[in-house]
């Protein structure tokens, strides 16, 4: 396993959210995290990226124990999260947003090369590169957020609700982009309310409810409507 969470307990302040969550992601696969609202899906991603600390259990990444590491150390290892609600830097231009994403690539040359590659796969962003990111539409901002994550040359890309609040056209655009990344066998973990979206993108899934993994879906294409309804409604 590239990334593995073992028996994770975590929460905010004194409020527990996750109870004994275990999860594993192999290189090159796309894993979905499913479940109803407040199941702890976003918290799980934040635990993986280091925004939320682990109370008990541990995290392994490429064979190393990363449990005590903060977010910036995990970014340095290539564990990159695209936050829910996009969170682009609004006053920075699109290009500056991407450069900030690529700060972990030490040399300016590596960064410029990466920037060119990212522009190649995100052509619309190249046209918008001098605009402040706060002026873009929701879908464009989501592309900026994903592209910013890609600038760091992720080993694992984690996406929190990438289609949330987007127009249907923008959802298709984001979906197409992620499908392209999947075909390049980028390892991804996706939290998503839009079931169809998850269905078509992910090969495996974990169903979370009330902070516990209640079932695993080994092949998304075999997920029946009933099982799905059960996953979301309990």
């Amino acid at each position: 396993m590239l990334l593995e969470a073992r028996a994770i307990d975590a929460g905010y302040g004194k409020v527990p959210v996750l109870h004994g969550v275990a999860l594993g992601v192999a290189a090159g696969e796309c894993v979905a995290i499913l479940g109803p609202n407040n199941a702890g899906k976003s918290t799980l991603l934040k635990v993986l990226s280091g925004l939320v600390g682990v109370w008990r259990g541990n995290l392994q990444f490429e064979g190393a124990d990363i449990t005590p590491d903060g977010p910036s150390e995990r970014v340095r290892r290539g564990l990159i999260q695209v936050p829910e609600g996009r969170h682009v830097f609004p006053d920075l231009t699109v290009a500056e947003n991407l450069i900030v994403g690529g700060l972990r690539l030490g040399s300016h040359r590596a960064r410029r090369a990466r920037l060119e590659r990212v522009y190649d796969s995100f052509k619309p962003l190249y046209e918008l590169r001098h605009r402040p990111a706060g002026m873009l539409s929701g879908g464009e901002q989501q592309l900026v957020a994903i592209a910013r994550g890609l600038m760091a040359e992720p080993r694992v890309l984690m996406l929190d609700e990438p289609s949330l609040g987007l127009s249907p056209v923008a959802v298709d655009l984001v979906f197409g982009t992620l499908l392209g990344l999947k075909q390049e066998s980028l390892t991804m973990i996706v939290v998503e309310q839009n079931v169809q979206f998850c269905f078509d993108l992910a090969s495996r899934g974990y169903v979370l409810r009330q902070g516990r993994v209640v079932s695993q879906v080994e092949a998304m294409e075999h997920l029946t409507a009933d099982a799905l309804r059960q996953a979301y409604l309990g």
Partner: protein, 288 residues
């Protein structure tokens, strides 16, 4: 002619004020904290130049080489040991702690140097230079040039360096910055270091322009606060414009208003700005 002389003097003062305030603006943008000890730290830097001159015989035009790093370290320390431990508590706690620090500095200066007015001469003392026909103290002119260069350098660094991009990123969105691999507290410490270190750069020069008294700190804190609020605390350009406005209002006020009422004009300006654009100040308080 008098008006023209006033304008020149006001511009010189305004640019110096803008550089002094820029340190406060950087700190405010990166950490959301208004440094109520800013002026007192500047007083400290000025007295440090006095000591370096007195005991080391080093001219204030050179002593910034030692004073600026010292002030930078102090700024970093204030963040690390005073601001960071308490900033997640009630927001007035940081204000109280920094005001407290400013009184501690004032008491220290009073104990060490006494209440007498002091000044720190440099090689340019007593010399006057003509700027477009208006006589300006040479030291003041040097401080003006240094401030212009400092502001320009800061502006460029903010816009084009990785450090500037990191700072703007954490000012815009701390969580997203963290997820981009930026160590937020690390950058915040650097910003306090630079923001207060600037005082070590101009303080020694200004010690040859303004008279030193131990209780001067709070006055400069408030003057910088006026520049910060009038400018909105967002960009370098706005800070420069606001510094010019405040400098001009003070100089012209002293020229044209009777008695010492002129010294009040910056505060009157603040009152006008607050009445005309209360939303600006409210936003500054609400942020973070």
């Amino acid at each position: 002619m008098l008006l023209f002389a006033g304008i020149i003097q006001g511009v010189v003062l305004g640019v110096i004020l803008a550089l002094v305030t820029s340190g406060m603006v950087l700190v405010y943008r990166a950490t959301g904290v208004i440094n109520f000890a800013h002026g007192s730290l500047m007083a400290l830097a000025m007295y440090a130049a006095y000591d370096v001159r007195r005991y080391g015989g080093v001219d204030p035009l050179l002593s910034w080489v030692a004073v600026a790093p010292l002030m930078g370290f102090i700024g970093w320390g204030v963040f690390r040991w005073i601001v960071r431990p308490i900033r997640d508590r009630h927001h007035l706690l940081v204000v109280q702690a920094l005001l407290g620090l400013s009184f501690v500095i004032e008491a220290f200066l009073l104990m060490r140097y006494g209440a007498d007015l002091r000044s720190v001469g440099n090689v340019f003392s007593g010399r006057v230079i003509r700027l477009m026909g208006v006589g300006v103290e040479m030291t003041r002119a040097v401080a003006f040039v240094v401030s212009l260069a400092g502001l320009g350098g800061l502006g460029l660094a903010l816009k084009h360096s990785d450090w500037g991009r990191r700072l703007r990123a954490i000012a815009a969105d701390e969580m997203a910055a963290e997820l981009a691999g930026i160590s937020v507290t690390g950058v915040e410490g650097q910003v306090w270091c630079v923001g207060v270190g600037i005082l070590g750069l101009v303080g020694p020069l200004l010690a040859g322009v303004f008279k030193l008294t131990p209780d001067m700190g709070l006055r400069y804190t408030i003057l910088a606060l006026v520049v910060l609020i009038v400018g909105g605390g967002r960009t370098m350009a706005a800070t420069v414009a606001s510094g010019l406005l405040v400098g001009l209002s003070e100089t012209l006020g002293l020229l044209y208003l009777p008695g010492s009422y002129g010294g009040l004009t910056p505060y009157a300006l603040l009152a006008v700005v607050l009445m005309a654009r209360p939303a600006v100040a409210a936003r500054m308080v609400r942020q973070r």
